[in-house]
């Protein structure tokens, strides 16, 4: 008899702390924005925004991605995680590293706290990477999902290492390139190399599975893989050698890759058998469509006819905010409802299935809270974008407050799920 993914699932005690740390991090991130709305009108290289952004990308996005990958590896690669113990060790290093890093950025101190933070985070990611490679080796197929995930983790390692070197460069200037350019490079490798590629790798398996849509052609995904990775490599070299055409080529390749991913998602969506979407799926689909905003902004920035765009800083902030909050965070929030409840539900009810009537995974959280979360998130997000665009602090304040409320709703649902106890119907 064949083994199912359920038998390969990790212990929920490894997965849940990742979601709790992630939930706390996004609430704190939103709270920092509520207290400092004007920070979104300053240049992005300011201590508050650097600390808040790293809290979001490492504390929320990366931590949840790690936890979710431990759960999704059996689903995607059809193998058991190599070591849960390594998962725990990696989380401990990551958590301590994040605390040091936020402290370092908050005080703009690139000495001991920064070195400690970087060391802890690099160790955490190295352990995670080794664990993932050893796990993936058990699966002999060279699937596209596997390629995306392993390459994404490779870029994560690269961008963290690059971030560390750029941080050192701030106190001992040894790289003869503007630190703002280096920061852009670090951010883009993180966003497109790690997050977006991970989303493509995981999404190309999960979206067809949840939507019951298996007819979409996978060729656009292959093109996306080649285009995004060649774009990133060309981009890095071009930036170091100040080769402008190379940078533009890299941008075009990355955009082309993402458009191909969107093509795949569109085909999957229109050919789906499951027409009715739950709130989690709605959130994920909306987040994916938001990807078009930063793409349009990049194109406008390259073309910029007659210097039409003058508010470069505002647009750069909108670009970054849309990618990190509107697309990646929203997608993770949506997919949380498609992952976390299942692993908890399996733990709580597996022995009772068929013997008595049990709640369903969706009964572990409040659908009403999830809907309020979606509404406050979307209204808050667009209000913040408008506030940045028109440089009005009071509008940003309203937006960040709504966004903060959305994160509280999200956190309440996470706690509801992870603390769920057996209930009989």
């Amino acid at each position: 008899m064949n083994l199912t993914s359920t038998q390969k699932a990790p212990n929920p005690s490894l997965v849940t702390p990742h979601f709790i740390i992630g939930g706390v991090s996004i609430v704190l991130f939103a709270f920092i924005l509520v207290l400092n709305p004007d920070t979104l009108l300053l240049h992005y290289f300011n201590p508050t925004l650097l600390a808040a952004t790293h809290l979001l990308v490492l504390g929320f996005i990366t931590t949840i991605c790690f936890g979710a990958l431990y759960q999704l590896i059996p689903v995607i690669l059809d193998v058991k995680l190599h070591s849960e113990k390594l998962g725990w060790i990696s989380l401990c290093f990551l958590f301590i590293g994040i605390i040091f890093l936020i402290t370092a950025f908050w005080n703009l101190n690139f000495n001991i706290p920064f070195y400690l933070a970087s060391t802890f985070i690099i160790i955490a990611i190295t352990i995670f990477k080794i664990n993932l490679i050893l796990t993936a080796q058990k699966n002999k197929q060279n699937s596209l999902e596997k390629k995306f995930i392993l390459t994404a983790v490779g870029w994560l390692f690269f961008t963290v290492l690059a971030g560390f070197l750029f941080g050192i460069n701030l106190s001992n200037n040894y790289i003869k390139i503007s630190h703002l350019e280096l920061l852009k490079l670090h951010a883009h490798i993180g966003i497109f190399g790690w997050f977006i590629q991970l989303i493509i790798g995981v999404g190309s398996k999960l979206f067809p599975m949840f939507l019951l849509s298996y007819e979409a052609d996978k060729k656009p995904l292959k093109i996306a893989y080649l285009a995004i990775n060649s774009g990133l490599i060309i981009g890095i070299f071009s930036l170091f050698y100040a080769f402008k055409i190379g940078v533009i080529t890299a941008i075009i390749l990355i955009i082309f890759g993402i458009i191909n991913f969107l093509r795949f998602i569109y085909q999957t969506f229109i050919q789906r058998t499951k027409k009715k979407l739950d709130v989690g799926m709605k959130k994920s689909i909306i987040a994916i469509t938001f990807l078009l905003i930063p793409l349009i902004l990049i194109v406008l920035n390259i073309l910029n006819p007659n210097n039409l765009i003058k508010q470069t800083t505002s647009l750069e902030l909108i670009y970054g905010f849309t990618l990190l909050v509107g697309v990646i965070s929203m997608l993770i929030m949506g997919l949380t409802y498609k992952t976390l409840p299942f692993i908890i539900w399996l733990k709580v009810y597996k022995s009772l299935i068929g013997k008595q009537k049990t709640p369903l995974p969706r009964d572990l959280y409040s659908e009403k809270i999830q809907t309020y979360q979606l509404l406050s998130f979307i209204i808050g997000f667009w209000t913040i974008i408008s506030g940045i665009l028109f440089s009005i602090v009071s509008i940003i304040q309203i937006g960040t407050t709504l966004f903060f409320i959305a994160t509280i709703f999200y956190f309440i649902n996470i706690i509801k799920i992870v603390t769920h106890k057996t209930t009989e119907l």
Binding site: N2, T4, G354
Partner: protein, 105 residues
């Protein structure tokens, strides 16, 4: 209530399995087209069910199979049951019944 003394028919077993719901899709496994074959051997009192999952990595596969086993055990206490998970032919949405499609809309 199913007659527990006489030999159940394929149709009765199929109807019993309609109480097994895919927890993600909220449609029963029969209308999802996941049941491929049912064999009832009255000489050994064995019900053998050949079934598949909508996706090879389906995280709920084990639970669905366990649910099916428990349903058969409760409905046909004189019979033992064996659920065989198969991947050929690979499941695709055309296996869903009209009722299943209606419920997914």
């Amino acid at each position: 209530m199913t007659n527990t003394t006489s030999t159940p028919t394929d149709m009765q077993v199929l109807n019993s399995l309609k109480s097994v719901i895919d927890p993600e899709l909220m449609v029963n496994i029969v209308d999802l087209g996941m049941i491929y074959n049912i064999t009832i051997d009255s000489s050994t009192n064995l019900i053998e069910v050949e079934m598949t999952l909508t996706s090879k990595g389906c995280p709920l596969g084990d639970v669905i199979m366990q649910h099916a086993t428990e349903v058969l055990k409760a409905q046909y206490p004189n019979y033992s049951s064996l659920i065989n998970l198969v991947w050929e032919p690979a499941w695709n949405p055309s296996f869903i019944t009209a009722q299943g499609n209606k419920e997914l809309e």
